[in-house]
């Protein structure tokens, strides 16, 4: 019977594939969607210049990538996790529990986070305090902690336009959210002096006060975007009052639709971020599983290629795309060359 033949051959294919799965010859990368464009640019150039196949780069977010990274050692686990934040000690522990002990941390550069609104709308000049007061769930008004009463930006700060508050911020699964909370909302909270009030209200519990600072209002004025920046852009295009949080590279590719806001009087650009003047930026990383070096062909070469001056340097293609080059790139190159792992040792 031909059906029987077909079925047996199908089973045979499955069986063969199960054994063939033992030989993976391309590097597998997953993680942050902020790092994805950079990683794909490097992967493409790597494939062009080396005889190794082009690495596979998946996205999914920093946390998801690190979770997969920590699943264990072996060819069915990923070799590199991209992250738009540093690995947490809880993640290092989770890794260690699964046998992933030697992790090489590679910092590739910095990424700016910008606030942008519709190109035809009002122009904004923000400070972290403005964002904190506009978006925090509770704020201090006349010496008392009250639920956020502000509806328009000029109520928050008389210098801002009288435009309804409508912010699109990255959802909690994004690494960008953490930077936004820490460098904008929390910084604003401290600057505004509200942090002390929360401290007093929480019996000097610093953690609780920080939590109170970064709790965002839930009345619809602040909307979490769990998708990518393209979704934030679509929201702003459909809502003229919207102000979104973007990566610098995304903004630079869409300057015909978006205008960027100053932060504390500094216009975001690769220069102001590199010099440290623009306050909202964060380092980008990728993490390499040392146990896979020498097993997966091209893994170390890919890591070395990524941090080469021609790639990650100030004149390289990554900087051209929007990455702020790391001034300490030479040290990173040494880290990769020596395969120095996290927590010292070799």
């Amino acid at each position: 019977m031909s059906f029987v033949k077909l079925t047996t051959s199908a089973l045979a294919i499955a069986a063969v594939s199960a054994t063939a799965a033992a030989a993976r010859d391309q590097v597998q990368v997953a993680g942050s969607s902020t790092v994805l464009p950079y990683a794909s640019i490097v992967a493409e150039a790597f494939g062009e210049n080396f005889d190794y196949p082009t690495p596979v780069v998946e996205s999914g977010g920093s946390s998801a990538g690190l979770k997969r990274f920590c699943e264990g050692v072996g060819e069915n686990t990923i070799d590199i996790a991209n992250a738009s934040r540093q690995i947490k000690s809880s993640e290092v522990n989770a890794c260690a529990a699964n046998g992933v002990t030697d992790i090489i941390e590679v910092r590739i550069g910095y990424d700016g986070i910008v606030f942008a609104s519709d190109i035809d709308g009002e122009t904004f000049q923000f400070t972290p305090v403005d964002w904190y007061r506009a978006l925090s769930e509770q704020v201090m008004v006349d010496g008392e902690i009250v639920n956020n009463p502000f509806a328009t930006w000029n109520e928050v700060n008389p210098d801002l336009p009288a435009q309804p508050i409508q912010a699109f911020v990255p959802g909690t699964k994004h690494g960008t959210r953490e930077v936004f909370e820490e460098k904008v909302i929390l910084a604003g909270c401290e600057e505004a002096g509200d942090f002390e009030a929360y401290l007093a209200a929480n019996n000097d519990d610093k953690k609780a006060a920080e939590k109170a600072c970064i709790a965002l209002r839930t009345d619809g004025k602040s909307v979490d975007i769990d998708g990518d920046y393209t979704e934030t852009l679509a929201r702003i295009e459909s809502n003229d009052d919207g102000i979104g949080v973007f990566g610098l590279a995304f903004y630079e590719n869409n300057t015909d639709k978006l205008q960027v806001a100053d932060m504390s009087g500094v216009v975001p650009s690769t220069e102001t971020i590199a010099s440290g003047e623009y306050p909202v930026s964060r380092p980008l990383f990728f993490y390499v599983k040392k146990a896979h070096i020498g097993v997966i062909p091209g893994l170390k070469e890919y890591a070395e290629f990524f941090v080469m001056d021609e790639i990650a340097g100030p004149d390289g293609p990554l900087a051209e795309y929007g990455l702020v080059a790391d001034p300490e790139l030479t040290e990173t190159q040494t880290v990769v060359a020596d395969e120095s792992v996290l927590g010292g040792g070799s």
Binding site: M1, S59, D256
Partner: protein, 441 residues
């Protein structure tokens, strides 16, 4: 109310008039519903074609490049290993001097530095020259005219997506560069033409949207459909034949039947999670492989095939079976010699529609790693095609729609056109098969 004694067939009473009005109204509702549906379809198609047709055209630029021996082959021995050591970065200066040459001979009149002028060609131009040199080292020392892709912004300028106003704040391109583009266009060195690479090519990184194509992800989809066909058709048909023709009717088969119907309604993302847990984490099949994608989609397609196969088996009249059994055929002979051939067109139609459904499915692929920057290596063999990482057409479209550069957005729409062409063709084949071969009793 109406006086029945004076009723005439020629005069409408109020009740008939009301009923007639109700019918007219209902017809209008029906027509309106169809009109709304058609309008939506037209809007959808016009949008898709309007936004996506641009992807089928691409701007090319011809540049004569002098392949200087001192830069490409220092030892002068044309040893392939030595030639490979010159990376794409080593080819950058060649391109820049090619543009300087064009300024010198008056083709381009500009004050821009060569690096800026070179910004109008794709980032992939260096790799293109390098590949040509590696393929034919005898080119070294000569001046060869290359057809480069223009950068995404320049391409957008020719397509009307990018204008001098829209690039006011754009650091990727400047008005001076567009002046050069205009000069080259007048000189006939830069032109927009049909873009075969979009249909056959591989995905490209975020920095070069102009080079991205659907080809490799199409191959990925093809391999997945192959797996689905090879697995789902025999399993589905065998299951349906047994259930329909051989299985006793009792509560166990009832439960199986109900569950097959339920399975058809399970959201596809569930199969994705199942695939991740079983095929990748437990069976250790490779990530991002079309084989795994195909297995997941097989699970999704099976119920569709079983249901349609059973329906077409049911539609074969019992008299056929009785006649076969009456002349002494065994049950199996009656099924395989008579029932199955008569049901085949229905089975095929169901299979094709199931495949078309699977072809357009994205959700389960998200979980098994088929979305990302993947489809860059075309497979060489069947085994590699099944096992080496690849994307699929809908996953590729999803990926492009997420990227920052607006040029990818156009390609996402272009990808939708290709996908729709596939789906329409498959459905047309299904309709044709049914029309041509199906028998009705």
């Amino acid at each position: 109310m109406t006086d029945t004694r004076h009723m005439s067939l020629l005069v409408r009473d109020t009740r008939t008039a009301r009923r007639n009005r109700a019918e007219t109204r209902f017809r209008i509702y029906g027509l309106a519903a169809i009109a709304i549906g058609l309008t939506m379809l037209v809007i959808l198609l016009v949008t898709i074609v309007g936004r996506g047709s641009g992807a089928f055209q691409q701007t090319y630029l011809s540049v004569p490049v002098t392949l200087i021996e001192a830069k490409l082959d220092k030892n002068g021995n044309r040893d392939p290993a030595d030639l490979k050591k010159v990376t794409t970065f080593g080819y950058g200066p060649l391109l820049r001097s090619a543009f300087e040459q064009m300024v010198d001979d008056g083709t381009i009149r500009t004050d821009l530095p060569a690096k800026k002028i070179a910004g109008i060609v794709s980032d992939g131009a260096e790799a293109q020259v390098r590949d040509a040199v590696l393929a034919d080292p005898s080119l070294i020392g000569q001046t060869v005219t290359f057809e480069f892709l223009a950068s995404g912004r320049v391409d957008g300028y020719l397509k009307g997506r990018v204008s001098r106003e829209s690039i006011a704040n754009d650091k990727n391109i400047s008005a001076e560069q567009l002046d050069i583009v205009d000069q080259l266009r007048t000189a006939g060195l830069l032109e927009k033409r049909f873009n075969l690479a979009f249909i056959t090519g591989a995905d490209a990184s975020d920095a070069r949207p102009e080079a991205a194509g659907m080809g490799v992800s199409m191959v990925g989809s093809l391999f997945m459909m192959l797996v689905v066909l090879v697995l789902a058709l025999p399993i589905g048909v065998a299951a349906s034949i047994y259930l329909e023709e051989f299985a006793p009717k009792n509560w166990i088969t009832d439960i199986i039947e109900v569950n097959i119907s339920n399975l058809a309604a399970v959201p596809s993302i569930v199969f994705g999670i199942l695939g991740l847990a079983v095929f990748i984490n437990y069976m250790h099949l490779p990530n991002s492989a079309p084989l795994v994608g195909g297995l997941v989609l097989t699970l999704m397609t099976l119920p569709t095939i079983i249901i349609s196969t059973r329906a077409s088996l049911k539609s074969v009249p019992p008299s056929i079976r009785d006649a076969a059994l009456g002349v002494g055929a065994s049950k199996m002979q009656s099924v395989f010699h008579h029932v199955l051939p008569l049901a085949a067109p229905g089975i095929l139609t169901g299979t094709i529609i199931g495949l078309a459904q699977a072809l357009g499915e994205t959700a389960p692929l998200l979980l098994i790693g088929m979305v990302g920057f993947i489809a860059s290596n075309g497979p060489d063999s069947l085994g590699e095609g099944l096992l080496s990482p690849n994307s699929a057409m809908p996953a590729q479209i999803y990926e492009w729609a997420k990227r920052a550069d607006p040029a990818f957005y156009e390609r996402a729409w272009g990808g939708i056109i290709i996908l729709l062409v596939f789906l329409i063709t498959m459905n047309a084949v299904a309709v044709l098969l049914r029309r041509r071969f199906e028998r009705r009793w």
